[in-house]
């Protein structure tokens, strides 16, 4: 049994939504939605070169560097099509020229009995597995925070369900003679820090609790193709159940450390702190809380009365999803939805379906998922940077049934 520090208590409260400072006001501010919808239809607006292979019409463009998947473009085939997957990089993606021969890409391993450096080709001889995980930006849902935190105003689409192929971290550790003494964190470093910036401020390095290494892999393939540069190839660490930022792109170092990294991206960024406060004493964006949302029908058009199929996605972060409930009356009554399609394990999302008959009128459709004995809270937990939103109210949609 772990001792409950102050930190873990506040984190727990945060993630379950029991510490309620969440504001009631402006539950779904109209502005981000209309702006986003306008972008969605502006298909003439070209995508920047580094992701020009993406499908413009599937994406809501927030900036020249950030795009999210439109609600309906998550699709209903469980795995998110790679051309639809959101784009969010703290630092410019490495180019083919910077990467060079992909098979020669190097990852050094430290914090083990025999530290070593492996090329991608060598990693591929150690072992291989495939896992399905939900990749979700810490700020997914930021667009609903009324205090308008800086950064992209994501709604639901900074998330995807991805198949990754790579070598288990456990296998890599074994190939290096086991863990060295004193390891408490798995610390991954990305090779994308721009050369002209201070490495302490511009190196993407993330530490997660050591226990998370058990299901983690070093991946080179994503949904059947080499991981594209924009998603962190040639090698990316995949840390199931943990927010996107912990899945370090362009991986150059895997370390097992006694302390959390001291770079800015670990120490001060990605901390879930109250409004107006910041600092490393606040919980880091690590495990994702339980969450769900409707992906179909679209709230942008009208729905024909009669039989209606409502579907969406739900996941439990590091916990297995238990169930998803649907409410058509602003959360007064809830009915259990069916979980459909393949179950790719607790780190993937499940698709849910709720079949009903609707008379003409306006409906609010809310969904509430449960996992590990916890359910999504009604309201967001307000925090300075707008992280980890899993409140069901903001994520609900309105349907105009005619």
């Amino acid at each position: 049994m772990k001792t409950l520090t102050k930190k873990s208590v506040s984190r727990r409260n945060f993630l379950t939504g029991t510490a309620t400072i969440a504001g009631l006001a402006a539950a779904s501010s109209a502005l981000p939605i209309s702006v986003a919808n306008a972008n969605h239809t502006e298909t003439t607006d070209k995508l920047p070169d580094f992701i020009k292979w993406k499908k413009r019409s599937a994406l809501i463009v927030h900036s020249s560097k950030t795009m999210e998947t439109h609600r309906t473009e998550i699709g209903s085939s469980l795995i998110t099509p790679i051309r639809h997957i959101y784009v969010r990089n703290n630092l410019p993606s490495l180019t083919d020229e910077q990467i060079g021969n992909r098979k020669d890409w190097k990852v050094s391993v430290a914090g083990v009995k025999n530290p070593k450096t492996f090329t991608l080709a060598e990693l591929q001889t150690l072992g291989q597995t495939t896992i399905a995980t939900v990749l979700q930006c810490s700020g997914n849902g930021r667009g609903w925070f009324p205090h308008k935190p800086s950064g992209s105003q994501w709604q639901t689409g900074a998330a995807a369900c991805v198949l990754w192929t790579g070598v288990p971290v456990e296998t890599v550790i074994k190939a290096c003679g086991g863990l060295a003494k004193g390891a408490k964190y798995m610390t991954c470093t990305g090779g994308d820090a721009p050369k002209n910036l201070d490495p302490k401020k511009a190196t993407m390095e993330r530490s997660i609790p050591l226990k998370a290494h058990k299901d983690a892999i070093l991946a080179w393939e994503m949904n059947g193709v080499d991981i594209p540069n924009a998603h962190g190839g040639p090698v990316r660490s995949v840390t199931p159940g943990y927010f996107g930022v912990n899945n370090v792109k362009h991986l150059i170092k895997l370390d097992f450390t006694a302390k959390e990294s001291s770079v800015r991206y670990m120490k001060s960024s990605y901390r879930i702190s109250p409004l107006g406060k910041k600092g490393s004493q606040y919980p880091s964006c690590w495990e994702m809380p339980v969450k769900s949302w409707v992906t179909s029908p679209s709230q942008d058009g009208k729905v024909k009365s009669g039989k209606v199929v409502i579907s969406g996605v739900a996941f439990g972060g590091t916990k297995k999803l238990s169930n998803v409930k649907v409410s058509l009356d602003f959360g007064k009554t809830w009915k259990t939805a069916k979980l459909v399609g393949p179950d790719l394990g607790k780190y993937a999302w499940r698709q849910f379906v709720y079949e009903t008959t609707l008379k003409p009128g306006f409906y609010n459709v809310a969904t509430k998922a449960s996992a590990g004995g916890k359910s999504q809270p009604e309201l967001r937990m307000d925090n300075r940077r707008g992280y980890a939103h899993n409140g069901w109210k903001d994520h609900s949609i309105s349907l105009d049934v005619v």
């Binding site: 900036s63 703290n90 800086s150 721009p194």
Partner: protein
């Protein structure tokens, strides 16, 4: 009530629409290309800036509040110019006014 509303609207217009204030604009541009180092990380045609670390400001077309808040508090690799005292409140106001007025133009 309605009169009051129009009065407020009219008095807000010049600031929200960024009506030219040449001195403030040129002060803001100087900070953008100089002390603020914004040009090293962002695209902004008016400033001749081609930085590629943060998002293109021409495409983002941020409001003055969005600029102010991020220049104050920083974001990821972008420094917190206000919190660290790298820029004064007046300088932040100027550079934000400049960006909000010129982005996308």
């Amino acid at each position: 009530m309605r009169k009051l509303f129009f009065f407020i609207l009219i008095s807000l217009l010049p600031s929200t629409m960024g009506f030219a204030d040449p001195a403030k604009l040129s002060a803001g541009k100087e900070i953008f290309n100089g002390k603020g180092m914004c040009a090293g990380c962002h695209v902004l045609k008016d400033a001749g800036a081609n930085g590629n670390i943060g998002p293109s400001l021409d495409q983002l077309k941020p409001s003055i509040d969005v600029v102010k808040s991020v220049v104050n508090g920083g974001l990821g690799v972008m420094p917190a110019f206000g919190a660290t005292g790298m820029l004064t409140a007046k300088e932040i106001d100027e550079v934000s006014f400049y960006v909000a007025s010129k982005a996308g133009k």
